[in-house]
Subunit: 305 residues, 4 copies
């Protein structure tokens, strides 16, 4: 039986010196001003355990991690019909590249790159409900935490500088792969990126993916086992920008990172683990966070490989 | 001495059967409803002659032909500084491709493709005046025709469906190659495309480019001889979308086409010639218009080659 | 305890009808003439068990599966220095695309696409020994089977029609990323693709990768645990051409396929499993073989996800 | 009446200081050792005049200029059928790029880039004669100079280092756009690049293109007027690598350059002009040669624009 608390304490000691080696995202002021020396980590196990170290209860901007939540909702809503509008393979190019989109006629490579997330957003706002409220409610229920929030200032700031995202969404629209107005899609997209959660929220919030799609404490079937497996495969091959290969090697579990410095991973049938350290490595993943997860899979022997 | 009127009459007879062989642009309703059997042609000579055939005095949407006017104004305004923001070489790919823009870090290949025209528009709206009014006034003076107008319905419709242009402009903005708001740039761009002129207007209106930059009837130096030569070179190598090579072969003069079915060409030191026939060939140039210009250069012996 | 023999028997019954649904590779005659109804499968476990069904002892052309063996030898020979010449990330484009190679200045995305394998081959023939003999000896020892052979007719035929590979290798050479003659590199490359092995050979032959780099029956350290993990990560993210995402989802284990219809996968710390069915799906992986592996991970519950 | 001798003398004085500002091609030793201070220029007029300055009678390696001769022979041999295998438009990317070739499925953009010249070479060696001898004889007759030669050492050296060309040719072959063996095509291609001629030879040798396809002194119809015009259009839009736009502006006549420092241009119905200065500018065209041609068209007033 692994002593998760001891593992987390140990990891925190080891990686803290790394927290200042990367570079905090600075393309919007709200991210730039987050102190680089923040570090939190949490583990949630299927049997109900929750373990924390450092700033594990502090909210931060989850950014691209939200793509897993919206993908989940889109699969719930329309199932495999999603795959007619977005692919399921690694992209092999920058997360915000337009080149692939042109050569593949407006079909994004996967739902975890920006263009793919726009298509997913377009699906969600087409479901006839208040998509934002639905998403927030879903994330809160997954985390079992009503304090999960959103940061309008972040969303607004992302929107003001989001020229590349706006280019991608208009490009999708020109290929007929967005049903709704570009600005409506982007509004939702920037909203989802602005969600604020803690490591503990994220660890709990991803447990259903480690549990064949079923929420462990309510028994609610969030996704089918097959859909949960699909998301796991996508996280493993496409969850960490253009470093999926290195990440699979170093960490060896399905994970999704965000430019706010968060990373959350799952070990199927066992647990979910989340880490936060704002400074990023050259590929855009949390530098200390990646190191922490690598230590975690090494010390617990839970890597896939 | 060429009898231009006879040449035009002859050409009109010959190409009229071709006017219905192409396809009228239908991406916006205002263009789609233009009758395919319209045909007009006009020649303006440096010595003040003007020759017309068919619908040579009917206004039509000049669309991309406007790029030559805005390029002229941008060169007047900032001179060679323009070339720091846009290239001067053929693009070898679709006029609205985003691929080249990504690999060349936001510098469009030339000012006659859409992205290049956006940069030019950005320059013009940065000159501190009412850019629209300035453009309209300039085009009217070049044509010596105060009836040159604009079509707000066309501009509005282009804007509503202009996703690819919006993608391009946002992409430029993401590389820092637009100083102004994307929508301000696009508003101006869609405005310039909506200008309505006749063949006679265009023939007169391009005479300064055939006259080393000087307006023949006022003597006003519009551009330096070197700038006029530069625009001629750009028209020859980049003026007819992805058919510049075929056009240079078939017609052999610097020319610029528009999706409204207009084409205007210049024969340096002699004349400017404009033609209008709404149905386009596969490359997006007026089918009968291209044939008419080919006949014109053949029958007058004025081709470059 | 899984009854592997029962699982294999069951799978064979279930997938045999699929063997004729794909398309046998026909770019060279020797592959084209292999009967589509061949089907074999074998499992080798770390504790010495070996289980077989169908044509599990029949030799076939392993083709791209050989890339894992040569990568292993290259890592043994020069270690991490290999990563200065080849990347470790999914490619997101066709296995034989030249586009990525141009934009990344001659550095292939990973060692499991053709260009990457050429660089690996270049490393091996630079080790001062008879690279072919060394490879054959290595593969025989890994499989514990001296009957592993090569098929000169296949190698010759591949060479005669290998224009795309020759283009890739010359392209690499033009970037300075091949030390040896292009033809020497290709000779070795076509040789490695022509190796002939059975499913049982492959299952035994990949066991060291499931055993942290150590040959289970001799205790010989073939690779370090870290290197074995690296290869596993590469197989999972890049082992099945442009279907790595779908394969990871459907099968969920590190695997490498070949155009001869073979696929071999590993389940770390447990076993290796190989399957052969010549007819391929649209992505170039064995159609029935993929289905068989999917059943295997489902029925044994051994998938990663 | 222009005094061509005075113009040439004047140009030589003016551009000599520029001859050492560029960089002599050094990818093969035979080109690298050519003294940078060589400068020659020659004009041949349709009425039989020939004017020279500097090293106008010294042979140099014509390199890519040969593409115009082989294109001429291919058009004579198969006429417009050539355009099924190669395009006629500017490429907008490097002369030896493979990217365009992949996206356009093996059809080179035009016959003046390397891949296009390979297709042309393939056509010529399929004509059932000794293609090399036929080419040499043709070039000698065009120049009226039996001393036009070839340099086997250059051809051999180009072949030894011609990895990019070998990649292109194999790539073409993989798309089925070469009928003959890659090495046979490349042998011919490297041979054509190794032809050695003087400026006077080139000026005389291109006169037929300025004379509607007819050799001025024998009256022999080398090409139809239409074919000559086609070649002129290709030279104007594609003759000077990725500087066609700038060259058209600065010089304003159809021209073809080679990496040996030669450039030859035509002024239809009047003359052909050749220049040689080995040091190249950043785009690969002779630096002083470009300046010399610019002065020539400026001082004679013979530019197109």
């Amino acid at each position: 039986m692994v002593n998760f608390q001891a593992v987390l304490d140990n990891i925190a000691d080891e990686v803290r010196p790394l927290t200042t080696q990367g570079k905090v995202a600075d393309y919007i002021p709200m991210l730039a001003r987050v102190p680089a020396d923040k570090f939190g980590m949490a583990v949630a196990t299927l049997d109900g355990g929750i373990y924390r170290v450092g700033d594990a209860e502090e909210h931060f901007s989850i950014q691209s991690i939200s793509k897993v939540y919206t993908l989940t909702l889109a699969l719930k809503a329309i199932g495999d019909a999603l795959w007619e509008r977005v692919g399921r393979e690694p992209s092999g190019s920058a997360f915000n590249s337009l080149v692939q989109l042109e050569s593949e006629r407006g079909i994004p490579r996967n739902p975890l790159i920006n263009a793919g997330a726009h298509v997913v957003a377009d699906v969600l706002i087409g479901q006839g409900l208040d998509a934002r409220a639905q998403l927030l409610d879903f994330v809160r229920r997954r985390s079992d935490d009503p304090s999960v929030g959103d940061d309008p200032e972040v969303a607004h700031s992302e929107s003001l500088t989001g020229f590349r995202n706006r280019a991608l969404a208009n490009f999708l629209k020109s290929f007929g792969n967005l049903d709704h107005e570009v600005e409506a899609v982007l509004d939702f997209y920037f909203y989802q990126c602005s969600l604020t959660m803690s490591c503990a929220d994220l660890a709990r919030g991803f447990l259903f993916l480690a549990n064949r799609g079923i929420c462990p404490w309510t028994g609610e079937p969030v996704l089918t086992p097959s859909q949960a497996k699909r998301i796991g495969a996508l996280m493993l091959t496409c969850g960490t920008y253009d470093a999926a290969g290195d990440f699979a090697y170093a960490v060896g579990i399905p994970a999704k990172s965000g430019v706010g410095g968060g990373i959350v991973g799952i070990i199927p049938n066992q647990l979910a683990v989340a880490v936060w350290s704002p400074a990023l490595n050259a590929k855009g993943n949390s530098l200390a966070g990646t190191a922490a997860l690598e230590l975690f899979t090494t010390q617990t022997g839970m890597s896939v490989f």
